[in-house]
């Protein structure tokens, strides 16, 4: 039986959000909710449970790093994959220190992103 996995796409660019959901929509059981920035994502996380967060770093209102710091206080926190144009070691290391499980740099190739998401989901315990 296919596991239902809920992903929260946190990205200020509607174009990028559309590309991410288009790319990942064929993964079995995946459903998506979108947020335009970190603050909106935290609101969604307070109300709903997610298995995965796909997170941009450069965003208005609340950027990705501020979101990650706030996420530490969220119970049952989901796994986080960063998708960013920033490729510097400082950013990658900081993201890892904040619990990010995978870091993908833009521009992304769909199948590469899908493979990363599948790998992260395969490490999750079965959904209840």
């Amino acid at each position: 039986m296919t596991q239902v996995r809920r992903a929260l796409v946190v990205e200020d660019s509607p174009t990028m959000r559309q590309l991410i959901t288009l790319t990942l929509r064929r993964l079995p059981g995946m459903t998506f909710v979108e947020a335009e920035h970190g603050a909106q994502a935290l609101e969604r996380l307070a109300a709903e449970r997610f298995d995965l967060v796909l997170l941009d770093l450069n965003m208005p209102v609340m950027n990705g790093f501020t979101f990650l710091e706030a996420l530490a206080a969220v119970p049952d926190r989901p796994k986080v994959i960063v998708i960013s144009t920033e490729s510097g070691k400082v950013d990658v290391d900081r993201a890892a220190a904040l619990g990010v499980v995978a870091y993908v740099t833009k521009p992304v190739r769909g199948p590469d992103l899908a493979a990363t998401v599948q790998r992260v989901l395969s490490e999750l315990p079965p959904a209840l």
Partner: protein, 257 residues
């Protein structure tokens, strides 16, 4: 057994004994010669066997090497094929999203914003500038965020040449796909704008891949039409449409380059 007291054997018996002894010696000598010959043969066969073993070992090593080369050759071919498919699939997905987003733009400003999103997120342009030409001098329209804006001064020569020729112009010595590059936007055979890409994000280096090249060409092909379509959507038609685009966009710079 014999003793000193026994009479000596007759001569014919001695002769027979000696004859038998000589024959025995000859037989033993023949046997020794045969043995030596066989030893030589065995040694020769042993050498041949060792030589054959060495040859087999060499051939086995060659076979292994060839098998590995063949396997890696096939692997590389399949890997290249797979990479090609991934590029193709990604390129199509990127173009689909870009086309869909531009088609949904309801104001010229939205169309510009979408182009900027595509350039920044999907193409991997790091610093760039979008110029549109009105009746007179070109005007810089994007990006609004100065962090990603290409230097006007550094790109002036490329942008002017692209406007003048209607052709893609690269900095001297840059290969196809390389940056800096200035690419014309055409509408009904007229160059109505130029996209100047000065640098790409560090992970791309100084040269665009096929995915980026396809997509950027797609953007500069579609953006002029998207601008017009958005303006027409707002009620402007015919020649007034392009004028409507101008009135609805705020230039960051006027009169340059």
């Amino acid at each position: 057994m014999t003793t000193d007291d026994d009479p000596p054997p007759p001569d014919h018996q001695v002769e027979a004994f000696l004859s038998t002894l000589r024959r025995s010696v000859e037989v033993v000598q023949d046997l020794m010669a045969e043995t030596a010959r066989q030893h030589e043969q065995i040694r020769s066969l042993g050498a041949e066997l060792e030589s054959a073993r060495q040859r087999i070992a060499f051939l086995e090593a060659e076979t292994t090497t060839l098998r590995e080369r063949l396997a890696s050759g096939i692997g590389q071919a399949r890997f290249a094929e797979l990479e090609e498919l991934i590029e193709e699939q990604s390129s199509l997905a990127h173009m689909f999203v870009t086309s869909d987003r531009l088609a949904r733009a309801r104001t010229p400003g939205e169309a510009i914003d979408i182009a900027v999103e595509v350039l920044h997120n999907l193409v991997g342009a790091h610093t760039y500038a979008l110029w549109l030409r009105w009746e007179g001098a070109p005007a810089l329209l994007a990006p609004a965020d100065a962090r990603w804006r290409a230097s006007t001064e550094a790109g002036r020569a490329l942008v002017e040449r692209a406007f003048a020729t209607g052709l893609t112009v690269r900095a001297p010595g840059r290969p196809v796909g390389g940056v800096p590059v200035a690419m014309p936007l055409a509408l009904d055979g007229r160059t109505i704008g130029v996209l100047h890409i000065a640098t790409l994000v560090p992970q791309l280096g100084e040269r665009m891949g096929r995915l980026q090249e396809d997509l950027i060409q797609f953007v500069i092909d579609r953006l002029p039409v998207a601008l017009l379509a958005a303006a027409m959507h707002q009620g402007h038609t015919g020649p007034a449409a392009w004028a409507a685009v101008r009135t609805q966009l705020t230039a960051i710079e006027e009169g340059s380059p």
